[in-house]
Symmetry: C2
Subunit: 180 residues, 2 copies
């Protein structure tokens, strides 16, 4: 149930609308926490009902009104409590590995095609992360220091994508040998 807490983390930085928050889940925090806009809007409503956030409505003509959410002291206390609690290890459910594990029921060429498709996705993702890293590295040391914790999460992304790609090269080798 950390969608809640990831929203609080973002709101602790600055007030934002649901839309702005949902954008953050397409980069930054989205590299390790995925959420759809439907989920986000619902969770914000629940947080407001709990009194962990409040919002002000900005009226707009022709469009739905904007709701600018901000964290309350109760919300910040809740966030701090969670940050000091035991985090349960994230569970892995990796369908591509299920496919490989049961792969003997289809041709290696079929598996190979799918692994290569995923390789492209991971390569793209790695490039995005590398672009963000070079931005970070160009900051002065005061700014670098203020982003040192988010930078650790970026490093996690870089490390895990690189490890995935190295592994997949090996997989491709094995599958190519099999489909001769």
């Amino acid at each position: 149930m950390s969608l809640k807490h990831s929203l609080l983390v973002l709101l602790a930085d600055r007030p934002a609308t649901g839309y702005e928050l949902s954008q953050k889940y397409k980069e930054a925090i989205g590299f390790f926490w995925k959420a759809s806009h439907q989920q986000i809007y619902k969770q914000l409503k629940d947080l407001a009902d709990q009194g962990w956030v409040t919002f002000e409505e900005e009226l707009q003509a022709g469009k739905p009104d904007k709701k600018k959410y901000q964290i309350t002291s109760k919300g910040l206390a809740g966030l701090r409590a969670w940050l000091s609690s035991e985090i349960k290890p994230s569970k892995t459910n990796d369908a591509l590995l299920v496919m490989l594990y049961g792969g003997k029921h289809v041709d290696d060429a079929v598996l190979l095609r799918e692994v290569k498709r995923h390789q492209l996705l991971h390569q793209k993702n790695l490039q995005k992360l590398e672009a963000i890293e070079s931005l970070y590295l160009s900051l002065d040391s005061t700014q670098k220091n203020s982003y040192r914790l988010p930078y650790l999460t970026l490093k996690r992304g870089l490390s895990s994508e690189r490890a995935w790609l190295e592994w997949s090269d090996e997989v491709v080798e094995v599958l190519m040998a099999g489909s001769l």
Copy 2:
């Protein structure tokens, strides 16, 4: 919805009871696909309703009756179709990274304690995987060849745990510097 397909993969190997299957999710396939026994029993029922598996009941006194499930030709066809389809990349939801990302709201020492706790879990997991690998490596080449695809999934586990641990060493360094 790959719990279904992971069950079919296991049943394609040999018939099994729900209990036996749920054991497999504590090792082997469980390293990349987690499922509780409640989920498994329910899914097996659904698969039987669909005609993808059948079962024979073994009556037992004092205990619930055993149901030995086996895959049908319809089930095998369904499995093959899935193995040839596009697998959607697994989504990552990593609460520990959310914690680090928002870590400036608590002391570094608190973060450090939690990261170290997770390190132990990952180390244990790596050891388990290494033990399985040494078993695999002691097989003769015919057997090695028949397990070559499952071995690739094992390698994924090894690679990802090692990458995680390397990253976490860096995290510990940064957090120790911060909590001086």
